[in-house]
């Protein structure tokens, strides 16, 4: 008994409660409703309506021709072969050759165009997903594993792709055949037709029984694939750590667990969906027997002729075949829906709305003001990262943010760049609320050198050009010289045209930082944000680029986070942060005179100097 409940040791996934709960949950307007998911896919497919109609016509032609062929052969058999009149057969054969050629062409063309339609649809879904992702707020990404998101653009969309390639044509032609057969059947015997149709409600019930399960299981399966993908991506990206701590065994074990979950859900999804064709077949056979049996009784009573029964059973067979095909398609469609739902659920996440009352070409002067700004990250629940920050920075001033790690310095930078919106309070640029500015307008006048330098898999040129898309090669070389990166770039195999790998080892961490600085130099911003921009750069090099940086900061409002006090010595203002509060602010001299935290920090440095 246990073996039936848990075949091969697979724990069952679906519970009675789960299956019944479905009806209650239906109320939500989410994409979890399969009808709306199908409708959304259909909308994209429908954008290519003309092609779709052409495909439909091709299906009609091929359906007709594939019926014509046997019909003509039937005529040949009846009229010529059986009558042994072999003269006059030649024209028929020539006609048939024509029919078969057109049949093959129409079959090819319908598939040819359908593949075009489906792949375009897939392309649109994929890029649509990506474009939407790129517009989601930063906070969205804080919570997600990269690999899990990637799985949606690949594995989930692939399920849709597989379905679109074949299902449409299948469904079309099945329906056509079905209609044709029913017409012939009614013509032959309405009574027997009704009898044959008796199994339809049964089929429907069987279908409902399975789809109720497979729909859920497919969803589970895609989620399991996503989780696995997430784990793979994260593990391989962090492979150094795995190796350093000899954790291979453990990650393999963790992988096995996630993999086992996929196996389990996959097993049940496949098993249940495997039932459909078999049950359909069974019902066919039964209806077959009914027709034969009742037909026999009818023939006994002389209501139908034997000939009708013989032909009718053949047609009943023909009738159930497209039904069978349709039932099979349901499986693929369901798995596609499961995949599409996961894609659409991302597309339903609210994106950053990039609107602002102020005109797009608003030119910033660089005045920045915080008014009692409170902020907390989604992940940190009720703990505020910033607790009422207020300050005012004039255009062109350089501000150094200092304080212990975790004091909220990076958060301030991220709020200035409007990666997040404030909880309460206001951030003003030139006296205007940041929320009235388009992000595009704001960030196009800003350059942000992030804590973790990142390079794309592209040439040095392209990586630097990221700061300003229309920068000339000369500008780039100039910026790299200023950032002290020119020398090492020239040592790369192809100089500026060397393709850098984001996870490669050709470039050191410090060199990546130099390139990030060059990127910011090219951007020529009004506001400059440097978050530990030089932390991995040796001090000799740092001194060299210091000049370039000072030059860069001149006339621009700059915010700098650095732990080495020498990097902040040229700041006009120093903000000392402590546990989310701005505890001291003022010029270097003022703060030293004040004798607070900042002056203590300097003393400490002195004490290290002995």
């Amino acid at each position: 008994m246990n073996y039936i409940r848990k075949p091969f040791g697979y724990e069952p996934i679906l519970k009675k409660e789960d299956l019944n709960r479905k009806t209650e949950k239906k109320k939500g307007p989410r994409a979890s409703d399969w009808k709306s998911t199908l409708l959304r896919i259909w909308k994209i497919v429908d954008e290519q309506r003309i092609l779709l109609i052409t495909v439909f016509f091709m299906v009609v032609i091929s359906s007709i021709l594939s019926l014509t062929g046997p019909l003509l052969i039937g005529i040949i058999i009846d009229e010529y072969i059986l009558k042994s009149q072999f003269q006059g057969m030649a024209p028929m054969i020539i006609v048939l050759i024509g029919v078969y050629i057109i049949l093959s062409i129409s079959l090819f063309l319908q598939n040819y165009w359908m593949i075009g339609i489906s792949q375009t649809t897939i392309f649109k879904m994929r890029t649509g997903l990506f474009n939407h992702l790129m517009k989601l707020p930063v906070s969205f990404f804080d919570k997600r594993q990269h690999g899990e998101l990637m799985s949606r653009a690949t594995n989930d969309i692939e399920t849709v792709s597989a379905t679109l390639n074949t299902s449409f044509i299948q469904v079309f032609s099945s329906l056509l055949t079905l209609i044709g057969t029913v017409i012939v059947m009614i013509y032959l015997s309405p009574l027997l037709t009704v009898l044959t149709m008796l199994i339809i409600p049964l089929m429907f019930m069987a279908m409902r029984w399975t789809t109720k399960r497979t729909g859920k299981l497919f969803k589970e399966q895609q989620a399991a694939v996503g989780a696995l993908n997430g784990m793979i991506e994260e593990t391989i990206s962090g492979q150094t750590i795995v190796k350093a701590f000899s954790q291979e065994e453990r990650v393999i074990e963790e992988f096995r667990e996630k993999n086992a979950r996929l196996r389990r859900t996959g097993f049940w999804a496949l098993t249940y969906s495997g039932f459909i064709p078999k049950v359909m077949n069974f019902l066919n056979n039964i209806s077959f027997s009914i027709v034969a049996g009742i037909g026999g009784i009818l023939a006994f009573n002389g209501l139908v002729t034997i000939g009708v029964i013989v032909i009718f059973t053949e047609y009943a067979r023909q009738f159930t075949r497209p039904l069978n095909d349709l039932a099979n398609q349901i499986n693929t469609v369901l798995s596609a829906i499961a995949g599409a739902e996961r894609v659409f659920s991302i597309m339903e996440e609210t994106k950053d709305i990039d609107e602002g009352k102020l005109p797009d070409n608003t030119q910033l002067k660089g005045e920045v003001e915080f008014k009692d700004v409170h902020f907390k990250y989604d992940l940190s629940e009720d703990q505020e990262t910033l607790k009422g920050i207020s300050f005012h920075v004039n255009p062109g001033q350089t501000v150094a943010l200092v304080g212990a790690t975790g004091a909220g310095k990076t958060t301030i930078m991220q709020l200035i760049a409007r990666f997040y919106d404030v909880e309460s309070g206001e951030i003003l640029f030139d006296g205007k609320d940041v929320r009235d500015l388009k992000r595009e307008t704001l960030r196009s006048q800003m350059a942000f050198v992030l804590q973790d330098p990142f390079l794309f898999e592209a040439s040095v040129y392209e990586n630097i050009r990221y700061g300003k898309l229309d920068a000339t090669d000369e500008e780039i070389v100039e910026a790299c010289k200023k950032a002290n990166a020119h020398e090492f770039i020239m040592k790369l195999p192809k100089g500026y045209d060397t393709i850098l790998a984001s996870d490669g080892s050709e470039i050191s961490h410090g060199q990546k930082q130099l390139l990030s600085i060059a990127r910011a130099l090219v951007a020529n911003p009004v506001i400059l944000l440097l978050d530990e921009a030089t932390s991995s750069i040796d001090t000799v090099t740092e001194v060299k680029i210091q000049q370039a940086l000072e030059l860069l900061m001149e006339g621009r409002t700059s915010f700098v986070i650095a732990h080495r006090l020498n990097t902040i010595r040229y700041a006009d203002l120093v903000f000392v942060m402590h546990q989310g509060e701005l505890v001291e602010s003022g010029s270097q001299e003022e703060l030293i005179e004040f004798g607070g935290i900042y002056s203590k920090m300097l003393e400490q440095k002195d004490s290290f100097r002995e």
Partner: protein, 580 residues
Amino acid sequence: MKTVFSYVKPYWLSALIAFILMLIELMIELVQPLIIAKIIDEGIVVNDFSSIQFWGIVLVILAIVALLSGIINSYFAAHVAHSFGFDLRNALFSRIQAFTMATYLKFPTSGLITRLTNDVTQVQNVLFMSLRILVRAPLAAFLSLVMAFIINPKIALFLFIGAPIVVGFLYFMVKKGITYFAQVQWRLDRVNRVLQECLQAIRLVKAYMRNQYESSRFQQVADSLRLDTTKALRIMELIMPVLLLIMNVSLLAVIWFGSNEVHAGNAQVGELVAIINYSMRVTGNFTMFAFIIIAIARAKASSDRMKEVLIVDEGGLEEQSDKKETKINSSINEIGTVRFENVSFTYPNSELQVLSNISFEVKRGEKLAIMGETGAGKTTLLNLIPRFYEPSIGNVFVNGRNIIDWSMGELRAMIGFVPQKSLLFTGSISENLKWGKQDALVSEVRISAEQAQIHETVETFPNKYETRVGQKGVNLSGGQKQRLSIARALIRKSRILVLDDSTSALDIKTEGALWEALEDENATMFVVTQKVRTARSMDKILLLHEGKVEAYGTHDELIQISTRYQQIVESQEEQVGEEG
């Protein structure tokens, strides 16, 4: 070397059962028309009710048997397919885990991800189908042909006039298909790659408002994928119409020449009709046939890609720990020593020599600072100690023993490694710290966090050590990540500590406290640092310049002999003077 399909082997019995069940179903399907004929002939025609009843019951019983075989087949086939996929994924992942760092450079992460998910799925699907429907169509076609031959071999022979073309054509298509589908999978890798990049660099993308730019970049790779997929599928769609045409023309040949035969009196009319009927049945299976061929080509392309991972041999894999005998005892005073002997190193994918002829020795409990310009080779040097890479020339000794003689596990267990980029993983803080030592007690976690100066901070988090960390630690500040990463290394209580510029984001006070706490560790330490202040508190300083040892000695020695060191010192003293 194992091929991909050898992973079906453990499930051969289940596969066989599924296969037999499928055959039973097929048989019943073939027998059915015969029984119907019986019902008509023996029952209805002669008005024999009992005969109708008997054959009717037989029919129903057979239908039930077919249903049961089908249902049970579902279980077995699904079991085989998913267990195969499960084992294959495990094997691939284990193999990937055994890669050396150099091998990773050959396989981009995105390509590995596609192989582990999408490629496995492709092959798994074909396997499932082969246990359910795959054999059916060819078998039905084959049986029909056999029947045709039994009836009249001479006429049936005409059915084969197209056979050589068919065989040649199919061979050609399968070969083409494999190439095209391999290309499709490779394009999928690219899509994965761009997506992964953008997710990793999401803040950069946002900071420069480059979502348009990235979108167009993604559009390009997605479009290439679209084009290649379309091309591959379209070409494969040729199979069915072409097969159909050849078969239909053969059929016409049968009719034409067959009727000639009949005319000449060499064959019966009935025979000809029967052969025509059977050949029409053959064509009915062609859709499925084409489908199978496409699936096979696709599965082959995917399994080839997986094979690339599975055949990575010893040169590309880290040695297994149990191979080495570990009994050689190092003498006590050698424990914790590290020695480089004429070490040169070039990354496998480049020609640039990153380290050249490095020699030095660090004694037990000694602390070595490594300094030098960015790109001087500091990180690379540290990467050689836990044997992430092998020196191109020269040797590295730990505890007086060449590291190639250590088992990988033992060697790395002696080392507490803190990388430059503090990589944390999705999970709780305590889970992350336990990477260093899986069975660490709560107290151990706490002590190492205290040493790394992060305990107090963790205590201020609402969920303390159970606070969730996002991927790569996104929700923590740079300094917090660094300290957690240090704590993760400290929890191992290793003999050798390797810190790769791991304190850059720490403020002076915290850093001072950290070094103080590390004093008690008594471990041999390698510290990459930019700060003279840190360096001079170490026992020795190794100054690298363009991959060579520029100077080696104590702070006081270096300041005498090395102008470069003097420059470094100056670069840091200058401003101190100004501040004062």
